[in-house]
């Protein structure tokens, strides 16, 4: 009597399709991932519990020496910001008036800016190498004294450029003197800007004081 043959089925699964899918995903993630831009100003931000993300902001970076730098993510906003700044402060600072198209383009390619307004023309006519050296060695920061409130001018220009739809983020170094940050806040308060976001990074779960052991009475 012939036995009923049970056809042997291979357990090999064709991996090609899975491979396709996974590489597709991989490419997608690689392409959409934005690497942390190489920041010229090294700042070690403090940790906090907050988990709100920052988007659409003009970031004022204050380093440990108290120098202030501004950065805006979108190139178009940077361009518009410079136009507005020229429009509003051109009479005050001759160094920004009459920038050529190339100079404005040059400005809008820099994601971090930290020079006095009156030097804009000189800096935007540097060549790549000169500018790199300038950025690394001698960028003086944006003046934010009570008599020379340029940081306020920049922020106002950014607000005009985006019709007020921009947040003002302050990024300070955790070990820097608080006076530097307070000074920036004070300068902006003079321009009637009272809402800020302070950039922090998410604390490690074991961080001191971060354990939510005590529930807030407000939540009960």
């Amino acid at each position: 009597m012939p036995k009923v043959k049970i056809p042997r089925k291979s357990t090999i699964v064709d991996m090609t399709a899975m491979c396709d899918v996974s590489f597709l995903l991989l490419t997608f993630f690689i392409l959409t991932a934005k690497f942390k831009p190489q920041s010229i100003v090294a700042v070690d931000v403090p940790t906090a519990r907050s988990t709100k993300a920052v988007d659409n902001a003009i970031t004022i970076t204050v380093n440990t020496e108290g120098k202030a730098f501004i950065s805006v993510k979108e190139k178009s906003v940077r361009f518009a910001m410079l136009e507005k700044l020229t429009e509003f402060t051109g009479d005050h600072y001759p160094g920004i008036k009459g920038l050529s198209k190339e100079q404005m383009e040059f400005f809008s390619l820099c994601d971090t800016w930290g020079s006095p307004i009156e030097e804009t023309k000189r800096i935007t006519s540097m060549n790549g190498l000169e500018f790199k050296k300038y950025q690394e060695e001698q960028m003086p920061g944006i003046p934010c004294d009570s008599t020379n409130n340029q940081i306020g001018d920049w922020v106002m220009a950014a607000r005009y450029a985006t019709n007020g739809d921009i947040k003002i983020a302050i990024k300070g170094d955790k070990d820097s003197n608080v006076e530097y940050v307070k000074q920036v806040i004070k300068r902006l308060s003079e321009k009637d800007i009272h809402r800020f976001v302070l950039i922090t990074s998410l604390a490690a779960p074991s961080g001191a004081g971060e354990v939510p052991a005590t529930e807030t009475p407000a939540e009960k």
């Binding site: 042997r8 291979s10 357990t11 090999i12 699964v13 991996m15 090609t16 899975m18 491979c19 996974s22 590489f23 991989l26 993630f29 690689i30 959409t32 991932a33 934005k34 931000v45 403090p46 906090a48 519990r49 907050s50 709100k52 993300a53 920052v54 902001a57 983020a169 302050i170 990024k171 300070g172 170094d173 955790k174 070990d175 003197n177 608080v178 006076e179 530097y180 940050v181 806040i185 308060s189 009637d192 009272h194 809402r195 800020f196 976001v197 302070l198 950039i199 922090t200 990074s201 998410l202 001191a208 004081g209 354990v211 939510p212 052991a213 005590t214 807030t216 009475p217 407000a218 939540e219």
Partner: protein, 211 residues
Amino acid sequence: MAQMETGGGGGGKHNGGVRSKKMSTRVDLTPMVDLAFLLISFFMLTTTLNKPKAMELNMPKKTDNEEEKQDVGECQVLNIMLDTLDQVWYYDGLKVAGLQKTTFAGDGGIRKEILRKLKAVPTECPPGKKWVDANKDKVKQPEEITMGPRDAIILIKMLKGARYKNMIDILDEMDITGCKIYAIQDPDPIEIEAVGNGGVVKEFAKEVVTN
């Protein structure tokens, strides 16, 4: 790993003439898939973890308009001062003489004091009163109305040379304890002196403050 050999290898059972082995053109893609998924997880994790976070800070606006001003009772206030040595100093209301020192430690530190204040103020402080001039036509006299229960107000004062990290820590503490009303101010000379003396307040200062 993910598969089992079933076909019995390259067909070596048959004896006979030398046959060239039929090589399968199939390549085992399992390791490649493994690798791809490893990379995917790496990219997913690093991209989401690198985003900066932010904490909101609203500074008070200077105003001369009386109606925008808020009346603050002494018993509502908790003053917190932060110094250069990461220490936290605090006192209630105007009683600088009661200055005490604490730390940022999880439960026993300043958080305990903030929670105590938040709990005590609505029950212990008498509700505030406000003069309201409802119809501004001067026909009706302005009347005094009683406001609802008060909330604690925390005044944060950063002493000269304090680290920025401490400011973030105390603001974080406000978030953790759910404190709604707080402000960052400049310290008074009396407070600077008291902290400078290690918490000892001179006699004259006590008088000035309690008067």
